[in-house]
């Protein structure tokens, strides 16, 4: 191997190291969440034919925190994500996914569910599937909000937030979040709570290896 080739290898290694360094920034903090509902609205189970099951309590609110900017297009589709129906609720009421993600909707209850969405971002109706069947997975290839409902259980509500960024996370029920492996650069940090609340938005500049602490909204 000649001197020129050795130099190329050294430069590639150096680039790899610096690229690794560029994706190690962290933003952590809290998002002020909406107050959780005390109880679900009374369910309209007016007629007694069939199984009458009390509606479970509504899920606690959470938020999605993501970095908005210009990122290279991914070489492959994001990994498949699962959003099941369990105990007459969606497994999670808020699911952030990257644009292009395939989402599966398994039913783990003994009763039917019929997940559907009339949202402009993604319109679909899975139909009714038994517990051991596999409904058709849906690919979410447009950024935006997808409101999910169950045709059978009116209290079931879910949201898939389709994002045009690979850098996102979901807070816990206290609003705490941590975004890791972020690239260096100038971006906008956003926190999405629900369709009624405008997202919190904050311009940020990340240096390689930076660790920012952000509370949204700020004082």
């Amino acid at each position: 191997m000649g001197k020129f080739s050795l130099r190329l290898v050294w430069l590639a290694l150096l680039g790899g190291v610096s690229a690794g360094l560029a994706n190690d920034a962290v933003i952590e903090g809290t998002v002020r969440l909406n107050k959780p509902p005390v109880a679900a609205p009374p369910s309209a189970q007016r007629y007694q034919a069939g199984s009458v099951q009390p509606a479970p309590p509504p899920p606690s609110p959470m938020a999605v925190v993501y970095l908005e900017g210009t990122f290279p297009a991914p070489a492959t589709n994001p990994p498949t994500v699962r959003l099941g129906q369990m105990k007459l609720q969606f497994e999670t009421a808020l699911l952030p996914v990257q644009k292009g993600t395939l989402v599966e909707f398994p039913n783990t209850d003994d009763v039917y569910h019929n997940v559907f969405s009339y949202s402009k971002t993604k319109r679909f109706d899975l139909g009714r599937y038994l517990k051991d069947e596999k409904p058709a997975a849906q690919r979410f290839d447009q950024p935006g909000v997808v409101n999910l409902y169950c045709e059978i259980h009116e209290h079931m509500r879910g949201v898939i937030l389709v994002l045009d960024t690979p850098y996102f996370t979901k807070t816990d029920t206290n609003g705490v979040f941590r975004l890791e492996n972020l690239p260096a650069g100038k971006f906008t940090l956003k926190a999405w709570l629900n369709e009624k609340t405008p997202p919190y938005s904050l311009p940020v500049e990340l240096a390689p290896g930076a660790k920012l602490r952000v509370d949204l909204p700020g004082q």
């Binding site: 034919a49 009390p54 009763v111 039917y112 319109r123 009714r128 038994l130 997202p199």
Partner: protein
């Protein structure tokens, strides 16, 4: 750290957002969540193009009937064991066109007690739909894949409840005249919102429901209130159901009780009372759902004990299917038939007491969103006899749900 600012709020001017906003505004709960109440409703605008004479429970002398209807539902939960419902309707009568100048009614009001944390036992009193059969859970305009009810729930027979027929010949003569809908009865009058009490529940894969009401399945809506008709001659109905899995639901129903009104007492044979003439009904229902298909079927046999005539039996059934063609678009079809048995004609023979008939209902429905739906239905029916009523019907229904 740079400045923090909220992004501009997205305009929420579209109709869907308006409905979603309204939905949230019409819900109230106490700080502890013990008291929760929600006002919901259905606004229906219906148009019927009628091939005179009108079929079923449509009341109109014209070729076109416009029928607006506002149904308001107040669902209230008191803690986790008490629930109440009040349904008020503003329309042109319980059946389209029966009160052309408009009407306001309390169609349902009930209080339900659920003593356990599961659904094994519910006790309910008030004015509410029958437990018979499998059509009631989808009888409102949003849930019903079609616009009209199955034949069993709306085809008016020649049975009357206000007066006894004078003779078998007089009873049989009714077959040849158009339905006297104000005086005659179907097997079930729609959802039968009669008054009384009910016990029902679900234990694992089994359902049960029994009710004790003031009026029969076939009774006119104007006697459903407890103030209109008491419980001197009560009607008992019930249904037991089995759900082997989520796809299937099979059930058997019965109903037993007097169907004549107090006004008929004076026309009864000597020594007989209203309680001596009963409507006895049994039914079997099955439903199946899988992927984008939903199928329902019901077979109902009913006997009316008719003063001065004898037992008038009828058998009716329907098979109904709904298929979702696309997320917003569905098609529905229903095949209905009704057969009438023979009764003594008073001259030593026996004759059918009404005309057998069949009807095919076809519908297309489109849901613009979770709040707006439009349906179009075409029906073709045929009676085995010289008299046809509503051979063809074209109906349109726009529903706003909130």
């Amino acid at each position: 750290m740079l400045s923090l600012f909220p992004a501009a709020p997205a305009p929420a001017a579209d109709l869907y957002s308006l409905h979603a906003h309204l939905e949230n505004k019409l819900h109230y709960q106490s700080p502890s969540g013990w008291f929760r109440t929600k006002l919901g409703g259905l606004l229906d605008l219906e148009g019927y193009t009628i091939d005179q004479r009108p079929p079923g429970l449509l009341f109109s002398r014209h070729d076109f009937l416009f029928n607006p209807r506002l149904s308001l539902f107040l669902d209230t939960q008191f803690g986790s064991h008490f629930y109440s419902l009040v349904q008020v309707r503003f329309d042109r009568g319980f059946d389209p066109g029966v009160m052309p100048d408009g009407d306001i009614r309390f169609d349902e009001y009930l209080l339900r007690w659920t003593p356990f944390d599961d659904a094994r036992l519910n006790v309910q009193v008030g004015k509410f739909a029958t437990v018979f059969g499998n059509w009631v859970p989808r009888h409102d305009s949003w849930q019903n894949p079609l616009i009209t009810a199955p034949l069993a729930y709306e085809n008016v027979t020649t049975i009357s409840d206000g007066a006894a027929p004078a003779s078998p010949a007089a009873f049989l003569a009714r077959r040849s005249t158009p339905d006297a809908k104000g005086a005659w009865l179907p097997v079930l009058w729609g959802p039968v919102y009669a008054s009384g009490g009910s016990v029902f529940g679900s234990v694992e894969k089994f359902d049960y429901a029994f009710d004790f009401k003031n009026a029969s399945l076939s009774s006119h809506p104007f006697v459903w209130d407890a103030t209109d008709l008491g419980w001197e001659n009560p009607v008992v109905s019930g249904r037991v159901g089995h759900r082997p899995n989520a796809a299937w639901n099979v059930g058997a129903s019965f109903s037993y009780g007097a169907y004549l009104l107090p006004s008929a007492a004076a026309t009864l044979p000597a020594g007989k009372g209203r309680g001596d003439y009963r409507q006895i009904t049994v039914g079997q229902d099955v439903s199946f759902a899988w992927h984008h298909w939903q199928v329902w079927a019901e077979a109902i046999a009913s006997r009316f004990e008719v003063p001065n005539v004898g037992d008038a039996d009828t058998l009716t059934y329907f098979i109904e299917a709904r298929y979702k063609i696309a997320p917003n678009l569905f098609a529905a079809a229903r095949w209905n038939q009704q057969f009438f048995d023979k009764v003594p004609d008073g001259a030593g023979g026996r004759q059918r007491w009404d005309q057998d008939l069949w009807r095919m209902d076809l519908a297309l429905g489109y849901r613009f969103n979770r709040h707006v739906q439009v349906k179009v239905q075409y029906s073709y029916s045929h009676q085995h006899g010289p008299l046809q009523q509503g051979e063809q019907l074209l109906a349109t229904q726009v529903t706003l749900k909130f």
